[in-house]
Amino acid sequence: MKDEKYTPLPRRPIGLDREELKKRTVTAPDGQTFEVDPIRDYYCQDAPKAHQRSYIKIVEDFFNWCRAESLWILGYGTGCGAIEMRPLMTPRFDAYRYGIQWRPTPRQANLLMISGYLSVKTLKRAIRSYEQMQNPKYVVGLGSCTINGGMYWDSYNTIKKLDEYLPVDLYIAGCMPRPEALLAGFEDLKKIIKAGGGEGANKYAENFEWYKANQKSVIKDWDMPDYNW
């Protein structure tokens, strides 16, 4: 039921039409003029590529074991689940003894925890963070919100199925899952990685078009290049 009487209020341009993202000519303090194209100059546009595994199986197995035993989580919380992750650092749960550590920058992290509902605005940031991480990288979805929307199933601004937008390796069910469930989930993730199943980054690269189409169907305000490494 749409209100016929409503006339939309004027909004500033969004997405790539933003003023600051337009190609423009800049005059430097020394009088030189040059062209700036923010989208092209500040980012790399190359699409991700799938990386081959090692040819020797035992080497790859060893690497997978190392990756599984040294999970570095990106300290990025999206919803209420962020509060459930913090106790893992504390003496009571102490995830460090399982080889799980937190890194503050996506460059150094291997594991992106989507800890709860993702609004469209947060999804954009999550995608950017994910794309800055280095292959191999893993995504774990926490809570029912990432699985099927959970209690936000009819919300106008939260996504309902995370694996449409990012390659998810593992879901941990619950609303929210307790830290014990997280620890169990990490152990499961380790098993997947050791078995050679943690190829989410390659999956993302191979199905890049599909993921991008899904992401863009939701994120109307697309103000970044297609791939942010």
């Binding site: 039921m1 209020l9 996504i159 309902k160």
Partner: protein
Amino acid sequence: MRALYDRLKDRFQLGELTRQRPDLGFVTVGRDHLRALLVELKDVEGFTHLVLFTAVDWLEDGQFQLTYLLNNRATAQDLGVRLMIPREGASMDTIHDLWPTAETYQRELYEMFGIDFPGSPRVDEDFILEGWTDLPPNRRDFDTKEYSEATFAERAGRESHDPRDHMKQKLYPDGE
């Protein structure tokens, strides 16, 4: 609170005072007197803090109710100033020069209810929803479920229960 109301009642043609708690009251005011009342409350009566500025959608009456909640730190009192504006072509005077925080509230109302505040800085910028193209989502004629189903991919197999019936069934399967 009552003394304050009596002082201001005639000058600003206030409506009835609704007292929710001893330290919380609400008055209604006409649009012409709103600004004068807010200035008086802020500068003379000591209601220096804008706690909240929000709107309620009275769809059936075709009106928006704006609520300015003010706080007086010295006397620990809250006073809500209510104001009705027509829903169609909703527009209101900006108060960002009285309280700079109002700028943010006005951006929110602009985005979530579609109420215009001419002159308020950055009011046409995105606030929370980035790139929203539909009806403002906090209007009651916006169907959030329909929008969600049309926009976001769903996972099959989800079941919904009416909480009341479901709890009754689970907790008291034999009936009452």
